[in-house]
């Protein structure tokens, strides 16, 4: 029926950017954990990266149209898994997020992100009109809302939030009308506003979430209490200066003042040791990655492939934005890792599987 795509069809630039970012991550994981009880974490991360690469290539070989065909089934599997987590999940750090799969604990919500990307691509690709009707919009909202609510229940505010930009970007590209956009923006603003407004947030958020918001708004108030993480991260970043303190020389990093410095706050450790010049490199690479994804979307063979690629771009872009903004104290602590740099099995695999979908679209752009 069709020719098998060759190696030349892969986006090697994208892979190069990917590898560069992963290298920065491994370097910083090494620096942050060497000499501590966590030493050797970087080799574990490299193992995850290798597995990720393999999965990426494997997934790219499976025609995305076949995957999209199963979108509804995947959706149901995702929802069932989320419900299963609520009942049988392992609790770590006060949240039920993990299900054991072949001896390893996996964060189901990471997989659900992928499923929602696929499901939304299918959903928006099926919209025939150039303009997105209100009915479709509400339908999409409700169907994304169900898993979102389940993830919130774990509780995992961060991952739940990631589903929002998937919906927003998908709707935008699917022909969102400006009146609807205005209403959604207002509603969003209202929601964000109420989250920061204690009398209302009391009913919406859990105590630990409210505390994070308070400590985000007033980090200096209690430097050893809830504002500690944000303040220490800002101190690390700021004290790095333009040139940085040097590899393995960040005092905030090495003395353990940066919270989870090998994972969520890895950008903080990187910024301290490599300075603004290092940040420029890292954020430059992320920008290149995201723009490269958009370019792949623009050259996709069909609308469904475009939605798939842009879903991935939206998810990664949102991760980068929320994580990095948190590191510089511009957003509250949400527990969203920095894709490709933060240590973590599930998160790393999610990114590579997502990139696998992009490759999938890429290598089929000339195939009919």
């Amino acid at each position: 029926m069709k020719d098998a795509p060759g190696t030349r069809d892969y986006d090697w630039w994208l892979i190069a950017i990917l590898l560069a970012i992963c290298t920065l991550g491994v370097i910083e994981i090494y620096s942050a954990t060497q000499g501590s009880t966590l030493a050797g974490m970087h080799t574990k991360q490299i193992r995850w990266l290798v597995v990720g690469f393999i999965l990426m290539f494997v997934l790219s070989r499976l025609d995305y149209h076949l995957i999209l065909d199963q979108a509804w089934i995947l959706y149901l599997v995702g929802v069932v898994a989320l419900i299963a987590v609520l009942f049988f999940g392992h609790t770590r750090f006060g949240a039920k997020r993990w299900l054991p799969v072949v001896g390893e604990l996996f964060q189901v919500s990471e997989l659900v992100k992928l499923i929602i990307i696929i499901w939304l691509a299918r959903f928006f690709a099926e919209v025939r009109t150039d303009e997105l009707s209100l009915r479709d919009l509400i339908k999409a909202g409700l169907l994304v809302g169900l898993p979102l609510g389940l993830i919130l229940k774990q509780p995992d505010l961060g991952t739940a939030l990631v589903l929002m930009p998937l919906l927003v970007v998908g709707a935008f590209l699917g022909g969102l009308q400006w009146q609807h956009a205005t209403v959604i923006t207002l509603a969003g603003a209202l929601l964000v506003g109420s989250v920061f407004y204690p009398p209302v947030s009391k009913h919406l958020l859990k105590p630990y979430q409210r505390e994070r918001i308070t400590s985000f708004l007033h980090p200096e108030e209690d430097a050893k209490g809830s504002g500690y993480q944000l303040l220490q991260s800002k101190i690390a970043v700021g004290s790095g200066g333009f040139w940085g303190k040097g590899f393995r020389n960040g005092t905030q990093n090495q003395l353990g003042y940066i919270p989870v410095r090998y994972s969520d706050f890895i950008m903080s450790a990187w910024a301290e040791e490599q300075g603004f010049k290092g940040v420029l490199i890292a954020l430059g690479l992320y920008m290149a990655l995201l723009l490269r994804l958009v370019q792949n979307a623009q050259r996709a063979k069909d609308r469904a492939g475009m939605f798939l690629v842009m879903g991935v771009a939206a998810a990664l872009g949102f991760h980068v934005l929320v994580n990095v903004a948190m590191v510089i104290g511009a957003m509250p602590v949400t527990g969203i890792p920095l894709p490709l740099m933060s240590y973590g099995g599930s998160a790393t695999l999610f990114v590579f599987l997502a990139i696998g979908l992009v490759m999938n679209v890429r290598i089929r752009r000339f195939v009919n």
């Binding site: 050893k224 004290s239 003395l255 940040v279 995201l290 958009v294 609308r303 872009g317 990095v324 104290g329």
Partner: protein, 643 residues
Amino acid sequence: MSYSFRNDNRLPQARLAVVSYVIVGMIGLLLIGFWKLQVIDSDKYSQWADRNRIRSIPVIAPRGRMLDRDGRVLVDNYPSFSVLLLRDDPTLVLKQLPMIAEGLGVPLNDLADQLDNARELPKFQPIVIKPEATPADVAFIESHRSDIPLLEMLMVHRRRYLPNGFMAHTSGYVGEVSEKQIEDSNGKFRPGDFVGKTGLERQYNDMLQGTDGMRRVIVNSVGKEVDRLPTQEAIPGKQIQLTIDYDLQQVAEQSLGVRPGAVVALDPRSGEVLAMVSRPTPDPNNFAIRISNEEWKRLNDDPLHPLLNRTIQAQLAPGSVFKIVTATAMLEDRNPPESYTSFCPGYGTFYGRQFKCWVFGKKSHGTVDLKEAIKESCDIFFYNVGMRLGIDRLSYYGGHVGIGHKTGIDLPSEESGLMPSAEWAERVFHRKWYAGETISVSTGQGAVTTTPLQLARMIGGIASGGVFKQPHLLKDAQNVGEERFHISESTTQKITDAMYAVVNEGGTGGSLKLAGVELSGKSGTAQVIGYATRERFGKQKKFEDNAWFVGYAPRRDPEIVVAVLVQESGQHGGTASGPVARDIIKAYYDKKTKKLDGQITADGKGFDPGKTAPPATAIQPVLKQSGQAVTVPTRARVEENRR
């Protein structure tokens, strides 16, 4: 499936372009955020990072020692430990406070109060919660290093003064810096610092204090020490060498004994203070740690005012010692002429009021001239002279020999005494001067008051022909002040002859004679209240006279002058105070003779002032050696002398 999503190639290129711009904008915004932290505010965050990881523990600079003129240690330090509480983590402090209170044996309320007082200080600055750590405290802190990481030991240098209040008022004492001193110091002092509060400790605090160093360690996020930074060494305070002669000071302390009073010994040729004693005295060692409120209150409420340095702060009527001023005025003004004599029947009537001579009721002085009057301290003679001179001339001469003026000695809080005058009466009381007051002033009664130091300077200066050197305690004092007030040679001769006669020709100090030494002087017995008032109250101890004796030697251009005040002893100046002056002057000459004979050189060699002065513990053998050199009078001998 009714609709296939395949092969629909409508791509929203415009909207995709918008997404690209959003991505670029987003990365740009993040970079601006980093720029602000890492370039604009970088210094602030670098400081915070350092404050995070660097724990600074002060290294207290030892205060400079005080040495006597021969290099013997008068005041030094001993090492001791204070317990510091690190307050970086308020929740941990709150949690562990009860444990700490129990371990150190400090009431929990006390600790809480101290924490409360330190509220305003930056959190990274530790506070002293127990100034003197016992061995048990040290053991407690060491054994709980891991579970109570908030405690730290601070090596401090406590001041050690010689026991029994030796030279206590002169040396002064140190104490915790007051809030006012911190404000006035332009950031030089920090709360908890020890600074000189009184005496030389305060006067030369800048020299003595030194600069505290800093021991800096790197701690990780759980407060564990992981590394050390180079220590900023403390710069010890400079030691100061005093003009005080330990041997003479010792004699002065012992000779005055426990009687309230004061002793000042000066070398009038240079203004150097050789000995300075004030009684009663607190033990400044008690102030060196932290004085309790009760102790402080007790010292302040004591009717004998132990905190008063009588040598420079007691402003008392000089009594007959003032007659030297009156005599000087008479001879210099030739009014009345030097050949003037007066008859003393034991009392006299001036301006319609009867004034008594001190011998009233016992005997009369008969006809006396100036020399006799000084020798016998005849009041009637000087009443007559004062009446003729008038208050303006007395005030003129009194003022010029230093009464009513601070001597400028290098001690804080010196008092000036008072030389009354018509102008003074006008200014202070808005009234005319009463002529009758002049009669009292001419014999050192009435409104005239002096300090012991002033009298020593005055008598020394007059006996030196009118050269008044500024008294001082610092051996290497620069620009020692000097006042010259011309007193004619013949006046000086006559007055010094008379003062020689006081001791050597059977005068009021006749019992003080010293073989081979031209000990001269003038006694004074000043009434605390008038005779009339005394009769009303009867003979009460607290209205006893103040006994003065200012002795010096040799008779002209003296090498040493000693002013002695014994308060409310019930004895006359020559009897109560004279022996103290004589003991000191004898000690001075004994030491001088030994030095000339070369016997004392062994002592001198042992000390290299300013460099290798031995620690205070070495003072004991020195004492023994010098004990041979000087005769240290015992209490028994003092008693004997009085008889």
